[in-house]
Amino acid sequence: MAAPLVRFLSKSLRQISRPSWGACQSGLRSRTTSAPAVAPNQAGGVVAFPPLQTYSEEESMMRDAVRKYAQERIAPLVPMMDENSVMDEEVITSMFEQGLMGVEIDPEYGGTGSSFFSSILVIEELAKVDPSVAVLCDIQNTLINTLFVKLGTPAQKEKYLNRLSTDMIGSFCLSEAESGSDAFSLKTRAEKHKDYFIINGSKMWISNAELSGVFLVMANVDLSAGYRGITCFIVDRDTPGLEICKKENKLGLRASSTCPLNFDNVKVPEANILGEVGHGYKYAIGMLNEGRIGIAAQMVGLAQGCFDHTIPYTRQRVQFGKRIFDFQGMQHQIAHVATQIEAARLLTYNAARLKEAGRPFIKEACMAKYFSSEVATLTTSKCIEWMGGVGFTKDYPIEKYYRDCKIGTIYEGTTNVQLSTIAKFIDKEYDR
């Protein structure tokens, strides 16, 4: 099984690889993305290129802390949250307390001050227990916080970053009823008046909307300019004219609220523009490239969590005089799924490390998201089969993972979009 192997490897490798990881990273940074060269061994026989499942001490401690927290404080509430389609307040408060909502935010603004990879590990660990909680953490960290950190003026950072890391949830509003994959054809418009804008239109499929305190709204200031008019506006929850409609009744990820929004002459000051006018499309693409890796981590965690619940059952259930795990047919299926999860995890970790190293990572991020969501679908489907009849009942957590995984191939860029993007990159690669 992948999980204990990872733990063992990371523990034994942490000792020898920590000094070399820094050297490795700086070495990687200076190189281009072409063929990997063979690295000379450093003095003392320490390997210069450690495996992907190598974590800094900080990353390991974080992962262990989140694992423990998720198991003890979130796991007991999961069935209730799914049944009632609501995120428990205690979960949200403790997520903020634990510093999980501001992993990359500077401690100056109340955040944890850690790295992108740490947030990936956090999302993966949370997803093992509840993918709904993981998506809340993912959107906050990889979309909302990153947008503010990268594009915020000092005044905006001062006003929002502190709250985003301590008690306020944010929502990212791009999709509309008539524009999902075709995001840039969005129709929500923002009319300029002196020093403020009036926003009219509506958004759909906005995650966390029920609980968010701030909304990053993509609206077009000049529809005749097409996508070059798209601008990112910061809209506070209590702004008059902003209506948060009833949440959707979903198949999965039910604890995460997904609502339509209506904008009825919502007045937003010019100071609330994030970044530059007309550059919203760039920001959206940029952020979604990173958010993609977060979703990949969520899907990997989901698959692993489901798998971890299933294997003990197969080792315990006896039919025809032996454990169902001991049937060769079962073993082959299980080994196949475990391999897929491992591959998905490595794709995800590699995409994350590439991004951290400042190297091109978009193709790899697309591959990670596409592959992980497919693996999650395969894993959960197989797990229900392996569990037999009990897998089909709500008494066991397996069916929830099965329902939760499906959105993975749809949101933050459908599988078809990912595949097309990957193909575009491949096409370019062969241009030379």
Partner: protein, 254 residues
């Protein structure tokens, strides 16, 4: 009372792991097995950090005796709120024979060196279940001890300790400096939050050798054999009381 608190933290096999005996019966398998901080040590750290938050003590120092990996355990204590750590390096054969007597000598020496006014330990470790280190440390220092503590209250230069004993609860008042050992219900240890884990990176862990403290690690004990508990035998069902008495007589029990 304000001052320094020493907290001992031990790196043990994680409580959730299924223990396996080594094939040569010399001990249990530790290679590649998940280790973490002894649960009673977590409770001890929590209590010390709580005292610091109430401003009743000034500094919490986490101490661990063991090989390189013990530093992880100290880091966890730092992430829970300890101010600095001391890693007493013991490895190889010395580590295999390390027991309460040696650890209590180390703790006593450190208490004198660091001018500690309070030592808090877990009541016992979940690997050897000795329940001796706290008591021995107190004896070596000639300090009073409050063991199996389920409630600790600092009262001027005295400490009120509620102890869990066989008959129920016993309340005692002891002078400081003193040694306390934490029992299960003393508190609920906090989670190390991510920001605290980051802060812990900057806290110092000093490296000390037992020889520097003038402690001799030779053990007076030798482990002869470690084996699994005997397999539970199947029981027997009987129909009547007479049958039961008959069977008991047969087995020579009556």
């Amino acid at each position: 009372m304000s001052g320094r608190v020493l907290v001992g933290v031990k790196r043990v096999i994680d409580y959730a792991v299924k223990i396996r005996v080594k094939a040569d019966n010399t001990g249990v398998v530790t290679d590649g097995v998940k280790h973490s901080m002894n649960p009673f040590c977590e409770i001890a750290v929590e209590e010390a950090v709580k005292l610091k938050e109430k401003k009743l003590v000034k500094e919490v120092v986490a101490v661990s005796c063991g090989p390189q990996q013990s530093q992880e355990t100290i880091r966890t204590a730092l992430a829970m709120g300890a101010d600095r750590g001391i890693h007493v390096e013991v490895s190889g054969k010395d580590y295999e024979t390390l027991g309460p007597l040696q650890v209590s000598k180390i703790m006593a020496a450190l208490a004198k060196k660091e001018d500690a006014q309070l030592i808090i330990l877990g009541k016992q470790a979940i690997d050897d279940d000795c329940n001796q280190t706290g008591q021995m440390t107190a004896a070596l220092l000639d300090w009073p001890q409050g063991t199996f503590a389920s409630e600790v209250t600092l009262d001027g230069d005295k400490i009120k300790v509620v102890r869990e004993i066989d008959g129920g609860l016993e309340t005692i008042k002891i002078n400081t400096p003193a040694v306390l050992t934490a029992d299960l219900r003393l508190n609920t240890p906090r989670y190390a939050t991510l920001p605290n884990i980051m802060k812990a990176k900057k806290k110092k862990i000093a490296n000390v050798k037992p020889a520097d403290l003038g402690v001799n690690l030779t053990s007076r004990l030798e482990v002869l054999k470690v084996e699994d508990p005997p397999q539970r035998q199947a029981g027997m069902k009987v129909e009547t009381v007479e049958d039961l008495v008959g069977k008991l007589k047969e087995a020579g029990k009556v």
